[in-house]
């Protein structure tokens, strides 16, 4: 049998395992059922007091208990849940021995106020407490060292799943999950490995992280009811809703997957990226980097805009993102843009930040496989500047072969993935 290659002569990269956890639940079945029913996972925050905050809602994952709560601890646990599901479904390797590298998209790690105050308390200073006081007693907290190294989450996951080589932790801000998948695709195409475990995870909703986004005016402040806060592409959209979750994909070369008789769940047909040099948080007004990322992904997949039947947008619900994304899509797809369904998962699960690219790639694969488009909920006031089919408020069936998943982030990050239902 001929070795399966894509049009550029590279190994075809397929998906043989999918795992996902969001505020809607753990596991792709539960998530898919709620997503296509138009359910929201956004709720009032109970993890920490929200007194004095402009935004009091989020898509936190409250049903996963963790000890010694911190963002890295929560992110690690969410990553583990998603990866367990994906690896089990793929049936690849053996327990604790995954035959490929780990690419982990994760929020930057930092110590938080609960730990900082613990150290401050141990310092026993009266009145003004400074970092000199903290440094004096830091050595009493060896566990904080192991927990708050940037590489600690990937290190632990590499140990649990037995991935090969050096695990890569990466951040391209809110495009991180897509970048993790892109790194896996590239490694398989280079022939370095037959498989890769790509995870995006984010469990970083705490007071300071929420306040940071709030101070940048990025968050919705329409707290009541919480389920209606995320309103992508609506005229009255007023920001994104922070959320937690994880998505994991087992990627394999088609050849390796076929050789072991694995079920093919979908294809990673193309990846495209382009950096934006315009501004730290805003897109270039001409949309060039967004357009470039989508076109690069199409070119990488050997496809044209006419091949695409569905778009899973970044669709955060901020005035800026949705306007610029729509501009980019209308530029790439021209008149056809109006008839390509484009629905935002974030209307229901919120913005899972570092995980979003991976979570939404997983949902896009489910969309292709099930032939059903999840809706954009909370779509009550159309924005005339965005004359697109956002699959308003109710799921519907559609026979789609190729889809695009967009992810954009602060710092000029733009990544687009092209996903296919089955190998060409």
């Amino acid at each position: 049998m001929a070795i399966p290659r894509d049009r550029q002569g590279r190994p075809i990269v397929v998906v043989t395992g999918i795992g996902v956890v969001t505020s809607l639940g753990a596991g792709k079945d539960d998530n898919w059922r709620k997503l296509t029913a138009g359910e929201s996972g956004i709720h009032s925050i109970t993890r920490f007091p929200t007194e004095g905050l402009r935004t009091t809602v989020a898509g936190t994952v409250d049903f996963v208990p963790v000890e010694e709560m911190s963002a890295p601890r929560m992110s690690e646990r969410l990553a583990e849940i998603a990866a367990e599901e994906a690896v089990a479904q793929s049936g690849i390797g053996s327990r604790g021995n995954f035959p490929g590298p780990l690419f982990l998209a994760v929020a930057p790690v930092e110590i938080e106020w609960s730990q900082r105050m613990e150290v401050a308390k141990a310092a026993g200073a009266n009145g003004t407490i400074t970092y000199d006081d903290l440094l004096r007693v830091s050595a009493q907290f060896p566990n904080y060292h192991d927990r708050f190294m940037f590489g600690s989450i990937a290190d632990r996951l590499a140990g649990i799943f037995g991935t090969q080589g050096s695990p890569i932790s990466l951040s391209t801000a809110c495009a991180s999950g897509a970048s993790a998948i892109q790194l896996g695709v590239e490694a398989i195409r280079r022939g370095e490995t037959d498989a890769a475990l790509c995870i995006g995870a984010d469990g970083s909703v705490n007071a300071e992280s929420l306040i940071r986004f709030s101070l940048l005016s990025a968050l919705s402040t329409q707290n009541d009811p919480p389920q209606a806060a995320a309103k992508p592409f609506s005229k009255n959209r007023d920001g994104f809703v922070m959320a937690e979750g994880a998505g994991a994909l087992v990627l394999e070369s088609l050849e390796a997957a076929q050789a072991r008789g694995a079920k093919i769940l979908g294809v990673l047909a193309g990846c495209g990226e382009m950096a934006d040099s315009f501004h730290r948080t805003r897109s270039s007004p001409d949309g060039k980097p967004i357009i470039g990322a989508i076109n690069n992904a199409l070119e990488d997949a050997g496809l044209t805009p006419d091949d695409i039947g569905y778009i899973n947008p970044h669709g955060t619900g901020t005035p800026e993102n949705d306007k610029m994304e729509a501009l980019g899509v209308m530029n790439v797809f021209g008149e056809r843009a109006k008839s390509i369904p484009m629905s935002s998962n974030k209307s229901m699960i919120g913005h899972t930040l570092s995980a979003a690219g991976a979570v939404e790639a997983a949902f896009t694969l489910l969309t292709l496989a099930n032939g059903r488009l999840p809706p954009t909920i909370n779509y009550a006031v159309p924005d005339p500047a965005i004359p697109l089919d956002v699959v308003p408020n109710a799921a519907r069936d559609a026979d789609v072969k190729y889809a695009i998943s967009n992810s954009f982030g602060f710092g000029g990050q733009n990544v687009s993935l092209v996903l296919a239902r089955e190998p060409a």
Binding site: F48, P49, E51, G52, P108, V109, E110, I111, R116, M117, V119, A120, K121, T128, I129, T130, Y131, L134, L135, S138, A139, P142, H145, D146, F148, M149, F150, G151, A154, D155, G159, S166, P167, I168, S169, S171, T172, A173, S179, E186, A187, R189, R190, A207, E208, I211, S214, L215, L216, A275, S277, H279, R280, T281, P289, G409, F410, G411, G412, Q413
Partner: protein, 396 residues
């Protein structure tokens, strides 16, 4: 194997550290066996301070500088030096397809704001409410962007217009090793033509030192060369920035670029760090380049951090190669986590470009002089806590 056109050449070096700015300043200080130590500002921890820089030279807009914390300014500055060095600064055509991989930490705090909150909370009636209130009022809105790991890359895009792609790896030393490994692999495989890879670190910060003080990892008292830190060892952190322009031989030749050295191999691994893992990990990587290494013209630049047991583990490996002279760069510039490996690869390229090795800065006699001409340099990167890496550079 890759054909010669897909070789990865180092055509640009941008480095700043306690030794100075740029390749020449570094070479002079290395040849003089000098270092710079600040023993008092962060006592009991000595650090290697960044040489004074005129940031305007690489970051012309004050507004841009204000949007960055020190590590981002250092990195954006070093990236600019690398682009200058490669002759592609301002070359919109090349920069639009330059793929960037940045190794970054981040999380630099507003120390005064933190101190105010820490001081106020213990006596507050409602600590949670006060924390929210203080964070809402005391955090500078743009501070978040100066803390985010991927915003070093973001700032490089904005200031230097590098727009091919932008990826940020995190995770201490391994992030720097993997940044170069992935950049080279993509070039070798034809997935990229030209890459800007590196990172930066500001050691002169109490919030950053605290992370390693948690693990009791920092050397206390007087600075000492890496091999002379005794059985407990210890890190001496150094502020530095290091970026490399790596490009395919085909791309470099097409624009008549001069190469400092050829980056022949970059490998990375993660041993469990149970028992005695560092030497076997290095040995396994070494076995892949060993057939091509010729004793006599080869040297090893060690990125040994000085922390134990990692540095003893590396030393066990180095002892197996008594015919190859070793230099621990940490004895000159300190240890800097994410950018350490890119910096050491830059120094290796610099030494190859000069065709000789710089003298030891070692009081133990472990580092031997090298008189002959230098044609190959292996660079080790052993994470003080996790991760191992090895690179091979050769005369271009």
């Amino acid at each position: 194997m890759t054909d010669a056109a897909r070789d990865g050449l180092i055509t640009g070096i941008g480095i700043v550290s306690c030794l100075g700015e740029g390749p020449d300043a570094h070479w002079q200080k290395l040849m003089a066996g000098e270092t710079v130590v600040d023993a008092t500002s962060f006592a009991p921890y000595p650090v290697h301070p960044l040489t004074p820089l005129d940031f305007d030279k690489q970051i012309p807009k004050k507004g841009d500088q204000r949007q960055m914390e020190p590590w981002q300014r250092i990195g954006t500055y070093a990236a600019g030096l690398a682009l200058d060095s490669a002759g592609i600064k301002g070359n919109a055509d090349v920069l639009s397809h330059t793929d960037m991989i940045v190794a970054a930490g981040g999380g630099e705090r507003d120390l005064a704001a933190d101190s105010g909150i820490m001081s106020a909370l213990p006596t507050a009636a409602n600590r949670d409410a006060l924390l929210n209130e203080k964070l809402m009022s005391d955090l500078r809105p743009t501070l978040f962007l100066a803390q985010l790991s991927n915003l070093l890359a973001g700032n490089i895009s904005i200031v230097h217009n590098v727009t091919g792609s932008s990826r940020t790896f995190m995770g201490e030393e391994s992030s720097g090793i993997d940044a170069l490994r992935i950049a080279l692999a993509r070039i070798n495989a034809g997935q990229a033509e030209v890459a800007l890879a590196g990172g930066s670190y500001s050691a002169e910060r109490k919030d950053q030192l605290m992370l390693y003080a948690f693990g009791d990892m920092l050397l206390k008292g007087e600075e000492a060369p890496v091999w002379a830190r005794g059985p407990k060892g210890g890190l001496v952190m150094g502020s530095l920035g290091a970026f490399l322009v790596i490009e395919s031989r085909a791309h470099a030749q097409a624009r008549n670029a001069k190469a400092f050295a050829k980056l022949s191999a970059v490998m990375a691994d993660r041993s469990s760090r149970q028992g005695d893992p560092v030497a076997p990990s290095l040995r396994a990587m070494w076995s892949k380049i060993a057939p091509g290494v010729k004793a006599g013209g080869a040297a090893i630049l060690s990125g040994a951090a000085g922390a134990e047991p990692a540095t003893s583990g590396e030393r066990a490996f180095l002892n197996e190669h008594p015919d190859i002279p070793v230099r621990a760069t940490g004895s000159y510039i300190g240890h800097a986590m994410e950018p350490s490996f890119p910096m050491n690869v830059a120094l290796a390229a610099l030494a190859l470009n000069h065709g000789k090795l710089f003298p030891p800065r070692d009081t133990t006699g472990f580092e031997k002089p090298m008189a002959g001409s230098l044609t190959q340099v292996a660079v080790t990167g052993v994470g003080y806590w996790r991760g191992e890496g090895l690179a091979l550079l050769e005369t271009a």
